[in-house]
């Protein structure tokens, strides 16, 4: 057994004993790759990894990411960064804000500039992502405006904004649980947002 194996094949305390009849030890651990990919690895090393978020996020999300402590682009070569696919809760949280779109703009700005898509069938993945980004940017920008003006606003109006922002976030987290049914983080976030909402006095009463 080589040093890759953190676990224990045929583990007597964990492994089902009847698994030993399958000859897993006859499987090769090393391969002879048909092609040497070092030149590609080297090219990647020399080019350095580009920060794709530069192309997929608007300034509002980047700004939010900065405030939330998310890793920023242009990191040093040996600084560990989060996976491009984003596993962490912070990343998920930022993603949620990207997904929270049309409803927030509609409720808070009473504007029709960003309407939700009525059907997904005519939209490509890229155009849906673009739509979500635009709507999410509006959502975050409006929240930022609300936060900046919180001292000047009527307390009731501020509370309304808070309530609507949470309701939208709750909707977004719910949709994210549907989008990523195999992952636990979206569900945890949805439960957390919902729990927070329940704790607050409902400003809108039954009008929602």
């Amino acid at each position: 057994m080589n040093d890759y194996r953190d676990g224990n094949n045929g583990n007597t305390t964990q492994g089902p004993p009847n698994d030993r009849d399958i000859p897993f030890d006859e499987l090769s651990q090393r391969a002879f790759p048909p092609r040497d990919v070092w030149s590609e690895v080297r090219a990647r090393i020399e080019a350095g990894e580009r920060d794709t978020r530069e192309f997929t996020e608007g300034p509002e999300q980047r700004s939010l990411g900065t405030r939330a402590g998310l890793p920023q682009g242009g990191s040093s070569r040996f600084e560990p960064r989060r996976s491009a696919f984003g596993n962490g809760l912070l990343r998920i949280a930022a993603t949620l804000l990207i997904f929270a779109g049309g409803a927030a703009v509609g409720w808070m700005a009473r504007s029709d500039t960003v309407g939700p898509p009525t059907s997904v069938n005519h939209l490509s993945g890229a155009s849906m992502a673009e739509h979500v980004q635009t709507a999410g940017s509006h959502y975050v920008a409006t929240l930022a405006l609300l936060a900046e003006q919180r001292e000047e606003l009527d307390p009731d109006e501020l509370e309304a904004g808070h309530e609507v922002a949470l309701a939208t976030l709750s909707g977004a987290t719910y949709e994210l649980t549907r989008l990523l049914p195999e992952e636990v983080e979206p569900d945890d976030l949805h439960q957390a947002v919902e729990a927070h909402r329940q704790e607050l006095e409902v400003w809108f009463g039954t009008e929602q």
Partner: protein, 204 residues
């Protein structure tokens, strides 16, 4: 410059030394690490992804990521262990993303308008060209048991991934649960189910 290159060749090139030099930015040292570990990383990718070309592409990603993350390697485990775990994470992330993408494609392409979008995710395993995969495996791993490789490749995706991580790569159930973002009971059940299916396949 020539003297420097000669010096590098004359050094003790043990794994720790190579890692230390690579951490300091020495690409040649990193190439030596790549040469030591690529066969193992490729084998992992080939089994998990069931596609030789994809295994090569992910290997590039894994080594590029390893170079980028070398600063976080503190030597608490062997470099191979660290690299292997990084590779498993990269591959699982890729597979997760692919599943999501296929689920979305299924939603857009196959479902009538107004359908409930919460359909079961598409199983990429349905698309496997088993003969092509078996050829890839036989070429890359001539000593392996092809009938067992085929039986493993035919398993449902998550059961296959859990089984490979446990029975081939030696990860513990809890580690697999953490890596796959699921519960230990689910992992055990998947592996149990996978073994039953393999037994059935080998008995045919």
């Amino acid at each position: 410059m020539l003297a420097t290159a000669l010096d590098m060749r004359n050094r003790d090139d043990g794994p720790e030394d190579l890692v230390r030099r690579a951490q300091a930015g020495d690409v040649e040292a990193f190439e030596a690490l790549y040469r030591d570990h690529y066969p193992r990383v490729y084998a992992l990718g080939l089994r998990m992804l069931r596609d030789g070309r994809l295994a090569e592409e992910l290997s590039v990603e894994i080594f590029a990521k390893a170079w980028e993350s070398l600063g976080s390697f503190k030597g608490r485990s062997a470099f191979g262990t660290w690299l292997h775990r990084l590779g498993v994470n990269q591959i699982l992330n890729y597979l997760r993303t692919e599943r999501r993408r296929h689920a979305r494609i299924t939603i857009v392409a196959d479902l009538p308008e107004g359908s409930d979008l919460r359909e079961a995710p598409h199983e990429p395993s349905e698309r496997l060209d088993m003969d092509a995969y078996a050829r890839d495996v036989a070429r890359a791993m001539p000593d392996t048991r092809i009938d067992l490789e085929r039986a493993i490749a035919a398993l449902p995706d998550r059961a296959r991934e859990a089984l490979i991580l446990h029975h081939v790569e030696g990860y513990k159930y809890q580690e697999i649960a953490d890596l796959m973002g699921t519960k230990i009971g689910t992992v055990k059940a998947q592996i149990h189910r996978a073994c039953a299916m393999i037994r059935e396949a080998l008995a045919e």
